[in-house]
């Protein structure tokens, strides 16, 4: 329930920190970049995700890199087609959560008083709930569809954005009373736009990458429970769910490769987020 750890305090006032090289940032960005490119041009070169290209359960081979599933669909082709679906879902959830969360956070910080109290209590309640379960119950009660999936996942991730932006808005408001901005008649939304927003970008970007990652994981989890995205859509989580039963009968590749795609993608997002956050603590 705590906010992210405060930035590092230098032990001694006189220590100067040298610039660090950032291998994790490079690796993370490279992976995401490669995925975006593969997702864009890959579908032109691989089979249709629904095409039955071979007998079922072919193990990985030169011809079918990731093998084929129970129907004989090419898992590599399906995984490539799924890249943009998963990335788009992750990004749209994060964008949604960020926009709504930031707006509420700015308002809460500026209006203050009762409104702020109510918002913060709500945020506490949202945070008193494992995000996955909140998304699950929301999705079921507003109806199982892909837009609703994005909404449900976004609602479950709004709270941290609210906290983060509100904190910046509050500290900015403090500053404002001493500065001339208030006196010269500048409006609150202008301050929000000029000062709060730029100051929030870095922590929000960190949260953004994390939320992208969580969302891809949660989509997979929900698919395994039979809600959210459904077969026969070529989506990593759905493919893991479809392949789950085959794990016990020996066809490990049907679930392994789509799950690996998820792990690599989310890992790259985490790398980027960790490095943006500075010293990983």
């Amino acid at each position: 329930m705590t906010a992210p750890a405060a930035p590092m305090r230098a032990t001694a006032t006189e220590s100067r920190r040298p610039r660090r090289r950032r291998p994790f940032l490079v690796v993370g960005t490279a992976i995401i970049g490669a995925l975006v490119v593969l997702g864009a041009v890959g579908p032109l070169f691989v089979a249709d995700p629904a095409a039955l290209v071979a007998p079922g359960f072919q193990p990985p081979s030169a011809e079918h890199l990731f093998g084929t599933d129970s129907y004989g669909r090419d898992i590599f082709a399906r995984s490539v087609h799924a890249i943009w679906i998963d990335l788009a879902l992750g990004v749209s959830v994060a964008v949604l959560a960020m926009i709504v969360g930031s707006a509420v956070g700015v308002l809460s910080g500026y209006i203050g008083g009762r409104f702020d109290d109510v918002v913060m209590r709500l945020v506490d309640i949202l945070m008193a709930f494992p995000g996955f379960i909140l998304a699950m119950i929301l999705l079921v009660s507003i109806g199982d569809s892909i837009p609703n999936l994005a909404i449900a996942l976004a609602v479950a991730q709004i709270a941290p954005f609210v906290r983060l932006v509100r904190a910046k808005a509050l500290s900015e408001r403090e500053l404002e009373y001493v500065s001339a901005a208030r006196v010269s008649g500048s409006r609150w939304y202008r301050t929000a736009y000029r000062h709060v927003l730029p100051n929030s970008i870095r922590p929000a970007a960190v949260q953004f990458t994390l939320v992208c990652g969580y969302s891809i994981l949660n989509v997979a989890g929900l698919a395994y429970l039979g809600v959210g995205i459904h077969p026969p859509t070529a989506e990593w989580g759905v493919m893991v769910a479809e392949g789950a039963a085959n794990m016990l009968t020996g066809q490990w590749w049907t679930a392994f490769f789509p799950g690996l795609m998820i792990a690599i993608t989310v890992m790259a997002l985490h790398f980027i987020g960790d490095e943006l956050a500075g010293d990983p603590r």
């Binding site: 001694a12 006189e14 040298p18």
Partner: protein
């Protein structure tokens, strides 16, 4: 007798090789209080940390010899235990473990440096708290740091220093975080202890007023270089280096400003 002599100490940033301290040498005699002044960033805190052998991560001493009571203690490994250094810091409350009673924290140093058993160490701790003029030392020993004021915490730190029976006390901005009245009390306490124990003191500060009041001699540090040293009165009356003059002038301006306010 010379309590401490630092011979050509240089410190640099490990990764970039940037110099923090360049060839700094100074000596402190028995019963002498020696000031080390400079602005923040001048390297004065690094001098004290390097002397204690506790440079922060990423910094490295490239040269330098340390002698205490004439014994070479350059090897950092057993420096503090063997040669009776003690140190007090700028933020006394942060310098104490928040989860331990202050008596226990002093007693721990007593048993470490005087080899007393637990009970004797505890009694000695209470005794030490009395020596730093804390009114009810037995009660104070049972307190946690957060229950004491900043000035009280600094007294506890001084008591902890005494527990080591130090040859040398390094005081790094010991009064900066305290109220003006408390500042004077802590400085008086340090002077009193020097008279009682004959230890040497390296007083690191940016405050020339503190130096003028307490220090026998003063060293001026500017961007890692020792630019001037001498008896306090002489340096103040007749500064040789431009930077010292600048420091003295800005100090005077500050005092005038304080007076007006």
């Amino acid at each position: 007798m010379t309590r401490l002599s630092i011979e050509s100490l240089s410190v640099e940033v490990e990764s970039s090789g940037a110099r923090i301290l360049d060839d700094v040498s100074l000596t402190i005699g028995a019963g002498e209080i020696v000031g080390l002044v400079g602005e923040s960033g001048s390297g004065k805190s690094m001098t004290s940390l390097a002397t204690m052998g506790i440079l922060p991560r990423g910094l490295r001493a490239t040269s330098g010899r340390f002698l205490v009571d004439g014994i070479d203690v350059t090897d950092a490994a057993n420096r503090s235990v063997s040669s009776r250094f003690a140190m007090i810091f700028q933020n006394p409350r942060d310098s104490l473990n928040p989860l331990m009673r202050v008596g226990a924290q002093i007693a721990r140093m007593v048993s470490l440096h005087q080899g007393l058993d637990r009970k004797a160490a505890q009694a000695e701790a209470v005794d030490l708290l009395g020596r730093v003029h804390i009114a009810d030392p037995a009660a104070a020993a049972r307190k946690y740091p957060h229950q004491l004021s900043g000035g009280m915490c600094q007294r506890v730190m001084v008591a902890m220093a005494l527990a080591c029976r130090p040859s040398l006390l390094i005081a790094d901005e010991p009064t900066t975080a305290l109220d003006v009245t408390v500042q004077a009390q802590i400085l008086d306490l340090i002077v009193e202890l020097v008279e009682q124990t004959g230890c040497g003191v390296l007083l690191v500060t940016h405050d020339l007023g503190v130096v003028a009041e307490t220090c026998d001699r003063v060293n001026v540090l500017y961007r890692g270089d020792l630019v001037e040293h001498g008896a306090t009165a002489e340096v103040f009356a007749n500064p040789q280096h431009e930077y010292t003059r600048y420091l003295l002038e800005s100090g005077r301006e500050l005092e005038v400003g304080d007076g007006a306010a």
